[in-house]
Every structure is written in C-alpha cells, then in structure tokens.
C-alpha cells in the first residue's frame, strides 16, 4: 500500500518513557480479527488506555490532554515481540507519523518503514533530553527532517542525526513502497527462480 510522503515533520510529541514496550501492548491480540486495515487506532495501547469497563485510565499518557502530536517518544527496545504489522497500523491510524526511541525491535522497525511511519533511533542521552523537554513544556516542538536525517528539539536547538538506508529514505520521501520496486524486476526474479533446485 503506497502511503503519504514524508519530508519534514514539526510536531509536539507524546512521551511514553517505558522500556520494552511490546507489540502486544501496542495492540493486544484480541483486536487482530479484522480482515481490513481499519480502526486499529481505537485499540492502540488498549489495556493501558482503558479500564475493563472501557472508561479511560486517566493516568495513561494518551488520555492526558496536555500531551498530543504526531510523534510518539518511547523508551528503549520499542516494539519488541510479535511481527503483527497491526501494531504499526494502530500507531499510524491513531495519528502518529514518527516514533522516536533509543532502540527499536527489528520487525517493528521494518513494519513502520513499510507503511510510512518513520522510526527515528536516537542516542540514550538525546532520548533523555527529548523526554525532559516535553515534561518541561508539553507544547515543545520536535522537528524531524528526513531529507537531512536530523531530529531537533525546537526550543533548545539540540539536534542529533539519525540513520536510515538511502533506499528506504527515497521511498519515504516519495511515498513509494517495496512492491512498486519489486514489480519492476519480475523478469529478473523469474530467471532466478528457474535456477533453483527446490
């Protein structure tokens, strides 16, 4: 599924400073029964966000009106566990376009890149600075510049660069996806397959 182009994102951010946030928390398995990619944002962080009677848990950050924005800032090892792309869909569907963490789980990172959510890995120190900036002023803006591969805390000017491979970067800047690329090399794939034993 081709997606929105990503260039420069300037937004306030939502802090979630827990480590090892796994994809079962991002979207619990019982909400994976859909056959279409719709409505997953409603169940993002379902069990942290709502009580058993579906009333919001006031202590959870998504229910705190002070914090909002298109950037989610998580703790170390964000997105571990299941390969469910539904986790990335839920994050996208809720309105986030970028997740920042000092460390991402592999499959989750891939899934994000494949649907147009930019995973930005920063140093633990910079992660700390972002959390502090948000807690000091929830209206503080974070600027994520994909072309220049930089993330900046607008208020302080503190900046760090981040890695992304040039292929994925081009894809995100242009809203292309891998299927577009692979479709264009079908002949090469078929020749390769013909040479296989099994």
């Amino acid at each position: 599924m081709a997606y929105d182009k990503f260039n420069v994102l300037t937004s306030t951010a939502v802090p979630l400073p827990l480590e090892n946030v796994d994809t079962d928390q991002i979207i619990p398995a019982r909400f994976l029964k859909a056959t279409k990619r719709e409505g997953f944002g409603d169940n993002l962080f379902r069990d942290w966000r709502y009580n058993d009677d579906n009333t919001p848990k006031e202590s959870f950050v998504l229910n705190n009106p002070i914090y909002s924005g298109k950037i989610l800032v998580g703790g170390k090892n964000f997105g571990s566990g299941s390969s469910r792309e539904h986790a990335a869909w839920a994050i996208y569907d809720y309105g986030f376009r970028c997740v920042v963490s000092s460390f991402f789980a592999d499959i989750f990172r891939n899934n994000c890149l494949n649907i147009g959510v930019l995973p930005v890995q920063v140093s633990p120190e910079f992660s700390e600075q972002i959390f502090n900036a948000i807690y000091d002023d929830p209206n503080t803006e974070i600027v994520v510049d994909l072309q220049n591969q930089t993330i900046t805390i607008a208020a302080t000017g503190a900046q760090e660069s981040f890695d992304i491979n040039s292929y994925k970067k081009e894809n995100m800047l242009n809203g292309f996806d891998d299927i577009d690329y692979l479709q264009n090399m079908k002949g090469e794939i078929e020749t390769f397959a013909n040479g296989l034993l099994l």
Binding site: M1, P17, L18, E19, N20, D22, D24, Q25, P28, A29, R30, L32, K33, A34, T35, K36, R37, D47, D52, G75, K76, N77, S80, G81, S82, S83, R84, E85, H86, A88, F103, F104, A105, D106, I107, N110, N111, N114, I115, N165, S166, Y167, K168, D177, D178, I179, Y181, L182, Q183, M185, K186, E188, I189, E190, F192, A193, L196, L197, L198
Partner: protein
C-alpha cells in the same frame, strides 16, 4: 572466502543487491495464516496483482481457532470471517489450504516441519515472529509484517538488509530435568530481550548437536525473544533422519542429491561472526520467568533479582513486578499457580507431551488447577494416543484439547482470567498476553507438569 552457514544460505538467495539499501531476497517457502494475511490479499486485489508462485505458499488456520468442538461452526463471527477469508483467498489464488477440520491442520510451525515443507538451506517466511522455529533445519526463517506478506505473494521476494551474525555456543552435558526450553530461556535471560536485535544467530556446540529436532525447534523458536530475527542450526544426520519420508520431502534420487548439498551447509572453520558467545550447559537449571518479558527468567531455585541487579530502568522493572504481584528477593518455588498451559509452536510437539506425562504419571492434577493441554497438530494428537500418553494424562485427571495456538496468545476463548497465574510452555509473558490481566510464568513442559500436580511452582527435579 570462508562463510558461515548463514552466509551460504543468505547469499544464495539474493536476487539483486541494492547499493546503500536492502537485498532483494528470494523466499523458497511462505506460510500464511488467517490473522496476518487478509490485508495482504486485499492489497493484491487493490493493485490487480496475482500470486506469482502459489505452489510456494502454504496456508493453515491456527491463531484464531477454537480448541474444542472444532467440528461445529466457529461461534465468534469475527474469527469465523477471518477463517473464511483465508479459505477464499487460498482457493482464489490456488494456494494449498489446511483449514480448520482438515487432517493436516495445526500450528503453522508444527505442521510445516512435520510435513517436510521445511528443508535445510531454505528461506522461509511467515507473518509470524516465531517462524524462526524452522531455523532448526538449517533454514533462514523469520517473521515478516503484512506488507511483506503481500510482497512475497506477488513477487516471492522481500527487501531485507543482511543482518549481522552471532554464534551462540553451549557446550557440556545438560543436567537432569533441564530441557531445550530451559537452554533457550537461560540464553535469553543472559542476553535480555534486545540482546540479539540486528543479528541472525547460529546455535553451535554439543548441546545442540545432541538435541532432537523437536528440541532444536524449541530453541530456534525462541530466537526472536532475545531480539534476533532468527536462529539456525547446521543440518546433520538428525535433521535428515527427521525429514526423510515426510509427505512433502523429496524422494529417491532427488532426495540423495539434496542431502549431498545439505551436507555442505556448515560454517567454515575459519569463518567469523560479528559476535560470539559461549555458555556452559552445567550452569543451566530448569528455568522460570517472573516478569513481563521473556528475558526476566531465573533458575527455578533462585530468587527474584533486585532492581539494581538488572539491566534497564528501575521504573520499568518495578512496573513489571507490580503487574505480576511479586517482590524483589521472592523465591519462585511455592508460588501459587492457577492455570497450566502445555502447547504452542514452542512446546506443542510430541516430546513435550512425553515430558509432561513423565511427571504426571501416577499422580493427580491439583484440584484448583485448570490445565489446557493443546497439541500442535493432529499428527501430534495421534501420536499422543498411539503412544499411550493420553491414558496417562486421563488417569491423572487431564484432558486433551484440539490443535491450535490457543492460550499462547489467547485470540480464541482460551483466556487466562485477570490476576490469575499461568505456568505456560509458550513463548511470551507480556502483560495480558494470555488474556487481559493474566500473569504468565514461562517454563518447560516439565515445570508445567510439576505445577499441574502440585498446584504451585515446583522444581521438577524433585519429582523425576
């Protein structure tokens, strides 16, 4: 140039290398199930694409299936709809479909190997992180997202940067009551859940060489729980013996040719890894987890560590113990247990049921324990009956359910209630994994059996 096992299999599947980008990576075998495939088929439809090689994809329903009364219509309309979508999509595209009720139906990572779909040197993916299981055969196998499922369906390729390489050696003799599950949980406890992120692991050393295929599958299955994309073990006579004469294995001359090739799939003596770790079998005892990720595991005789002794943030650690209702320095032995789950792609194979039966034989299930014993496939179920294990289980007060993922992820009705404790042979102890508010203690089938008959966390070595 000398190569690792991983290099040999990876490099032979690269269709195109992209400068500064991922490899275009060819997939030999693709498994699909009802949960992570429907949106991929929808994507094909929207783009007007066909499945390029339907004979390389295999569908089975497992995540979202009931484990009782499988002959009746599925009650939950959403689940029923998902199962129907898998069937319709498979039929439309000419993909083999082992749906609910089919003799071959079962957990994808159990039925794949037992039917010979999995083979050494293969590249295997599935929209499920425990696809790493198939690495036990010397395959490169890993989980993918739904966008990638769509890529494989339409082009038989995905775009993957080649991971770094890690070798984990475990040498020596495992002690009494120490199983492959304990070896894996021990390694994860040493590495943490992110310790192998970015790596593909090769398991080596005499502990793995001496393991059965079932044991190797348990170990490779859990590779993802330390962050690794996958783990693999060099194929050997144990592998070939397991695969020979499986329904979809090669036959005759083709088999001999394949085996000759598979024997070359070993890490060259002078090949190097980005990281290499070595552990001693004698340091491993039966393991159990006490927290909310698989890295939070300890030897069953040990006490829950202090926050200061653990890598990572104190707040996250304390939140985890609060969720479990545990405290630092608590002993795990004697902790109350309410549920026992034997099954899943980690421990739902015949050996796991043999192990469970070896403990409960001649004893009785503790009265307050609810036990769910769920074979990974009908073939496992048949073996349980043929070997007389069912009689042992029945006599001890246990019943057998029908195959499926069941309480491992609790998508169906097999949910552990809020606040209750489950000793589970599955793979994840995340908050709410086995049902909202459920508390999971991951362990081996032996530890699960010991809990089932005593009603509390018990060292299985005292019952062997």
């Amino acid at each position: 140039m000398s190569k690792t096992l991983f290099d040999k299999v990876w490099d032979s599947h690269v269709v195109r290398k992209i400068e500064g980008g991922p490899d275009v990576f060819f997939i030999d075998r693709h498994f699909i199930h009802e949960v992570t495939s429907p949106v991929a088929f929808l994507g094909l439809k929207n783009r007007g694409l066909k499945v390029l090689y339907p004979e390389r994809t295999f569908a089975t329903a497992d995540h979202n299936t009931p484990t009782i009364n499988q002959h009746l219509p599925v009650q939950d309309p959403l689940s029923a709809n998902q199962l129907k979508a898998l069937e319709d999509n498979s039929n439309e595209h000419g993909i083999s479909h082992w749906g609910l009720g089919h003799r071959k139906n079962g957990i994808v990572h159990v039925v794949g190997p037992e039917n010979g779909i999995t083979f050494p040197g293969a590249t295997i993916v599935c929209g499920d992180s425990h696809t790493s299981t198939h690495g036990a055969f010397g395959a490169i196998a890993f989980g993918i997202g739904t966008s990638e499922v769509e890529m494989v369906l339409s082009t038989q390729c995905i775009m993957q940067p080649k991971p770094k390489k890690m070798r984990i050696n475990v040498n020596g003799q495992l002690g009494k009551g120490v199983t492959p599950k304990d070896v894996a949980l021990y390694i994860i406890s040493q590495l943490t859940t992110s310790g192998a992120t970015g790596y593909f692991v090769e398991y080596a050393g005499d502990v793995f060489e001496n393991m059965t295929m079932e044991g190797r599958m348990t170990v490779c299955n859990l590779s993802i729980e330390m962050g690794a994309r996958g783990g693999m073990i060099a194929p050997d006579e144990t592998t070939f013996t397991y695969l020979k004469d499986k329904p979809l294995s090669l036959k005759g001359e083709a088999w001999d040719t394949a085996v000759a090739h598979w024997k070359t799939l070993r890490t060259d003596d002078d090949a190097t890894f980005d990281k290499e770790l070595t552990f001693s079998a004698s340091d491993i005892e039966p393991m159990i987890t006490y927290g909310t990720n698989p890295g939070m595991g300890i030897g069953i005789s040990k006490h829950i560590p202090n926050a200061e002794a653990v890598e990572g943030g104190v707040a996250t650690y304390k939140k985890s113990l609060d969720y479990m209702g545990y405290h630092e320095n608590d002993s795990m032995i004697g902790k109350k247990v309410d549920y026992v789950f034997l099954g899943s792609c980690t421990n739902g194979r015949i050996e796991d049921f043999r192990a469970f039966a070896s403990i409960v034989k001649g004893k009785k299930k503790a009265e307050h324990i609810t036990a769910w014993l769920v074979p990974g496939s009908h073939e496992v179920e048949d073996q349980i009956k043929e070997e007389g294990i069912l009689d042992v289980l029945t006599e001890a007060g246990f019943a057998l359910r029908q195959p499926g993922c069941s309480a491992c992820l609790a998508m169906n009705d097999d949910k552990v209630p809020a606040g209750k404790y489950a000793v589970s042979t599955s793979n994840r102890n995340f908050e709410g994994r086995q049902g909202p508010g459920s508390r999971t203690l991951l362990a081996s089938p032996l530890v699960a059996a010991a809990a089932a008959v005593t009603g509390v966390v018990t060292d299985p070595r005292t019952l062997l």
